[in-house]
Every structure is written in structure tokens, then in C-alpha cells.
Symmetry: D2
Subunit: 196 residues, 4 copies
């Protein structure tokens, strides 16, 4: 089983990414379930604005990885209380998957599962989760219960994830639950897929 983590931070490498750090815990937990995990920092690549798969940029490689992964994790920071522009760009390019079908004539996202990781230095994680999960459900991904984790610390502007230990234990425990639920529902759909 394969998982793809798309880190949608706004910061290019080699700047440290809080979102990447928390997503790393999910990657570790998925690997403990025997899943092969690939991570991509989207902002390091050239991804054009648009809603098509092939726009002559780096998206086609990500698209290929999406199609070879039963599990997708979108990891986003929170800006203005909302998913990052990079996360929304990912969803826009994935929009084309709505009309791509597999050999069983089903949308290619069927029988794949997805979850969401969110960091922020204030507030907004549940909303970011709902926004991204809502988009992925549209595209055809199944979202397992509690397939998310997040870290933030309100009220008002506060520390970054890397600046404090507050709440790390909760976020890490929730990351393990997320990984377990992604793996379990992906397994169920592999053994008993949605009929064509």
C-alpha cells in the first residue's frame, strides 16, 4: 500500500516547515502499518494555475503519484483561517480527476482514501479540514472518520508548532489514529472495492 503526502506550506526548501514536521508524524505512523510513504513539498515545484492535468509543468508527476497511491494526505498551514493557496491549487489541478476514469469506468479517485493535516499559529484547523475534505469528497476520495490531525494554539497570534511543546502529545496521538484509520479504510476498499 502506498501513501502520498502533499505538503502545502508556502515556504520553499530549505526553510523549515511546521506543516511538514507534523505531517512527518503521520508518515511515520503510516510506515508502522507497512505503508510506503512518499512526500512532496508542492511549493518547490512549478505548478501552474489551472484545472487540467497536463499543463506542461511538474503536476503530471504528482498526478502519476496520486494514481499509484491508495492513500493521500494533504497537509496545509492556516492563513487567514483558511487552507493555503498551495493547497487550493492542488485541489484545482485535481479537479480534472473528476472526469478521468479507470479501466472499470469509475472516477480514478474511487477506492482511494484521504486525510488532512493542519498547522497554524492561531485558529482555523477544523475549517481547513472541512474545506479540503469537502473538495476531496467531490473528486471521489473516501474520507475515513477522524482521518486528520492538527496543531495550533489560540487565541490570537501565538507560537509556531516548532516553538513550543504545548499540545504536541495530543497532535501526535491524533496523528496515529489518523494513520490507523486511513490504513484500515484503504485496506477495506482494496479487499472490497466499490463495484463498477
Amino acid at each position: 500500500m502506498r501513501a502520498l503526502i502533499l505538503n502545502c506550506t508556502l515556504k520553499k526548501s530549505p526553510a523549515p516547515s511546521n506543516t511538514g514536521k507534523l505531517a512527518g508524524l503521520v508518515a511515520d505512523a503510516l510506515r508502522e502499518h507497512g505503508v510506503t510513504v512518499e512526500s512532496t513539498r508542492v511549493v518547490d515545484q512549478r505548478i501552474e494555475p489551472g484545472v487540467e492535468t497536463d499543463m506542461g509543468d511538474d503536476w503530471t508527476a504528482i498526478h502519476d503519484e496520486l494514481l499509484s497511491s491508495e492513500i493521500l494526505v494533504i497537509a496545509s498551514p492556516t492563513w487567514l483561517g483558511r487552507p493555503s493557496s498551495v493547497a487550493q491549487r492542488v485541489l484545482e489541478r485535481m479537479d480534472a480527476m473528476l472526469s478521468e476514469t479507470d479501466e472499470a469506468d469509475q472516477p480514478v479517485a474511487y477506492n482511494r482514501v484521504a486525510g488532512v493535516v493542519v498547522t497554524g499559529n492561531e485558529d482555523g484547523a477544523h475549517h481547513v479540514i472541512s474545506e479540503i475534505a469537502g473538495g476531496l469528497i467531490d473528486i471521489g476520495y473516501t474520507i475515513p472518520g477522524q482521518a486528520w490531525t492538527y496543531w495550533n494554539m489560540g487565541p490570537g497570534p501565538g507560537p509556531d508548532y516548532s516553538d513550543t511543546d504545548h499540545g504536541h502529545e495530543w497532535s501526535a496521538k491524533t496523528a496515529k489514529t489518523m494513520a490507523a484509520n486511513l490504513h484500515a479504510v484503504a485496506t477495506a476498499l482494496t479487499r472490497q472495492p466499490i463495484p463498477a
Copy 2:
């Protein structure tokens, strides 16, 4: 397999409900998959504001039905572009399920699936779907891909679902896809549940 449809219209019986009418198509499609379907018009019952299961009102009966149903459908009208107050009240009372566990010590919503039906005379369905699905994922429900249907007609104030035939075919076809996906993922999770 059992399904529960919670119609969250603001209108008490016997007033006709557009939301109930569209949800009825989902019920029909679920029955074609051999599912036993129960429907409840929430506003006809006494449901106190709060976040506990037992508040001495009609919620406990709904709670029992939730626990005996592998499939949940929340059907909501769109008011001010958002889920109805009745739908939010349902989510609030379901909040207590977060800390209720089954004999395997898992949250009671695990291995259950849910979908969303939305009607409106203007705009807002995708948002209502994201809001309700986001809440249900929190509680532990799995949301299959494309497990929703809706009907509306923008821009600006327009006809109700019952007033026109515009788009009915699309909403009905989408209702069938929704029912198929709910049934398929519920089946997969019944045969291969999330491990304790």
C-alpha cells in the same frame, strides 16, 4: 443493512418539504441495494439545545436509530448559504457520540458511513455538504467519495425544487451514485472493519 435519513427542514409536518422530496430519491436508491431505510423529520420532534445524548427529549430515540444504522444521511435545506439550524442541532447532539465507545472500545461512529443531501432556492450546496461532512468526520463517520446530491438554481432567489423540472435529472442521477457509494463503502467496512 440499515440507513437512517434525518430530514433537517425547518418546516413541520404536514407542510411539504423539498429537502424530504430529494432525500426520498436517495431512500429509494438505497432500498434498491437492499437497505432498510428509516426517515425522521427532526423538526417534528422535541430536540433540546445541548451536547448530551440524554436530555429527556426525543433525541434518545434518534440516537438509538443512529446506533442501529450503518448508513446515515443528513438532509438539509440551505438558509443564508449555510446548513439549517436543525442540522446543526443534530450535529451538536451527536457531539456526545465522540466519547461513546462500543464493545471494541472504539468511537460508536466508526465503521459507519454518512452522506449529505441539500436543497435550496439559490446557492450554497457544496458548502452545506462540507460543513456537515466535516462535522461527521470529527464524530467518526466515514464519508464515501461523491456521497452527496443536491438541487438548487442560482443566481439569486429562484424557484424551489418542487416548482420546476430544471436539473432534476442531474440531482436524481447523483442521488443514485450517492446511494451506491454509501452502500458499497458500508459493505466494505462491515466485512473488513477498522481494527480495534
Copy 3:
């Protein structure tokens, strides 16, 4: 100048309300600007589900207060990351104001301003603010910049506002800014109203 605060907690009196407590700071700050402030705990009254002004219940009195107040504050707890069902019910009943016009033939909400107060024991304030502000803009209220305050403390379930001092200073300072901005924009619209 008059302000109406609608406390949309789920808890009936005399249970203490965290939301009411934080909204009280906004009331105090408005009074320092010479504003007469009225507060209503909506859940203590009988407010039927619906989208009409006169449904034979306690809403008509609230509606009268809305029309005699230049400033409206909606204060809501956060449940499942979203505005309370009581806050959504308030918006639904206010929906009727869209078609109510004053002697200048303008929507009755024109030249009135509104702000939002949010509490929660986890995460979600910015989303609750956007949801409620979005509804009020639809109805015709003007939302001044930074006309909100909130308190919560993520990640994950945490203390209530009354249980800790963490962040109280920030929420109180933000409440004062909110009151100042509500008062200033209401004053500007009183002196220079939107032309008929």
C-alpha cells in the same frame, strides 16, 4: 446609540455562559463609548424554526430590538467547529429582514453595523466569524474591520474560557478594538447614511 447583544449559547439560564462572559467585555467597552447596550440570551426564549418575522413566539420582541439598535453583536459558542444552532436560528429568522424596508425604501439592516464574539474550548473561531458575518452582510449589515473577538485554546479539547487565564488579555484587548470599530462605523453611517 443602541447596541443589541444576542448570546447564542446552548445553555439556558442560570447556567454560566462562557460566551456571555466574553460578550460582557464587549458590552462594557461599548458603554464606555456612550452606547446603551441590551443583552438577550436567546435560548431562554421560545424561538420557532422558520424564516418569518412573526411566528407567534418571542422573536418579534427581538426583531423590535434589532430595529431600534444601530449595533448588533452575535455571540456564539463553537460546536463541531461551527456556529451554534441558536446562532443559525437567529440568522434564519433575520432572513425575513431581507424583504423588510424602511421609510426610505431600503432594507432595514442598511446603516446598521454588526460584529461577532466567539468562544470555544478548541478551535474554530475565525470560521464562526466568517459564517455569521457572511450571513449578516447578506441581510444588509455593514461589518467594520476587526469587529470581532474570540477566545479558544487548541489543539484538541481544552479548558473553557472560565477555566483559565490563558489569552484573556488578548481577547479583552481585541474586544475593546471591536467595540471602538463598531461605534466608529455606526457613527459614520448615522451622520452620512447610505443614500436611498
Copy 4:
């Protein structure tokens, strides 16, 4: 009085933009109120991901225009039911304005007003409006009542704005109301600004 319209379509020039077309009606209506209107198609420029004003790209020119405009209009298409990635990128870069103050030591967005234009071929306008308005309120912009217009046509995938006449009259009338309200509240705040 000056207005800046930021067209956040995903399509680069010279492709026709539905969003730009509807935003053009708002520009026309603002000009009838004597406002000088500047329009920028953001995707034609190089705008780096980030939350700072000066990142060595084309944003600084837009930032200058923002500071010389009393009125801001963000025009966005709807993708996956949400604001475009370009609109979110604009908000992210504007995030820096939170800590920029004018000579009166106020946030630079104070005493400025903003509105939202949305197009889509399905559903989602009210949500896009709430998301963008919520971000702008955070930054300090005042949002006048009914300072938005939109066009879409549900349910399900449908025609683009340019493909049909359905609903154009409503969207155009609403664009005029939007322009009038933006102009009126900007005028009120110019004559009676928020006190320092």
C-alpha cells in the same frame, strides 16, 4: 475616490475571463458614482507564495495600489466550491497589512471598504463571499451590507456566465447595488473616519 479590482481568475490573458466580465459591471457602476477604477488580472503577474509585502515580485505594485484605493473588489471564480488559489494568494500577501500602520498608527486597511464578485458554473458563491469577506475583515477592511454580486447556475456542472443569459439581469442589478453600497460606506468613512 479610487477603487481597485483584483481579478483572481486562473486563466492568463488573453483568454476571456467570466469573472472579469462580471467584475466589469461593478467597475462601470462604480464609475457612474465618480470613482476612478483600476483593474488588475493577478494571474498575469508574478506573485510569489508568502505572507510578506516585499518579496521581490509584482506584489509591491499591487500593494501600492491597495494603499491608494478606498475601495477594493476581489473577484474570484469558484473551484471545488471555494475561492480560487489566486484569491487566497492575494489574501496571504495582504496578511502583512495587519501589522502595517498609517500615520495615525492604525492598520492601513482601516477606513477602506471591500466587496466580492463571484462567478462559477455550478454553486458556491455565498461561501466564496464569506471566505473572502472574512479574510478582509481580519485585515481591517469594512464590508458594507450587500457589497457583493455573483453569477452561477446549479445544480451540477452547467454553462459559464458567457454561455447563457440566464440570471444576467439579477447579477447586473446586484452589481449596481454593490457599487452603490461600496461608494456610500467609503464616503461615510472618508468624512467621518475611525478615530485613531
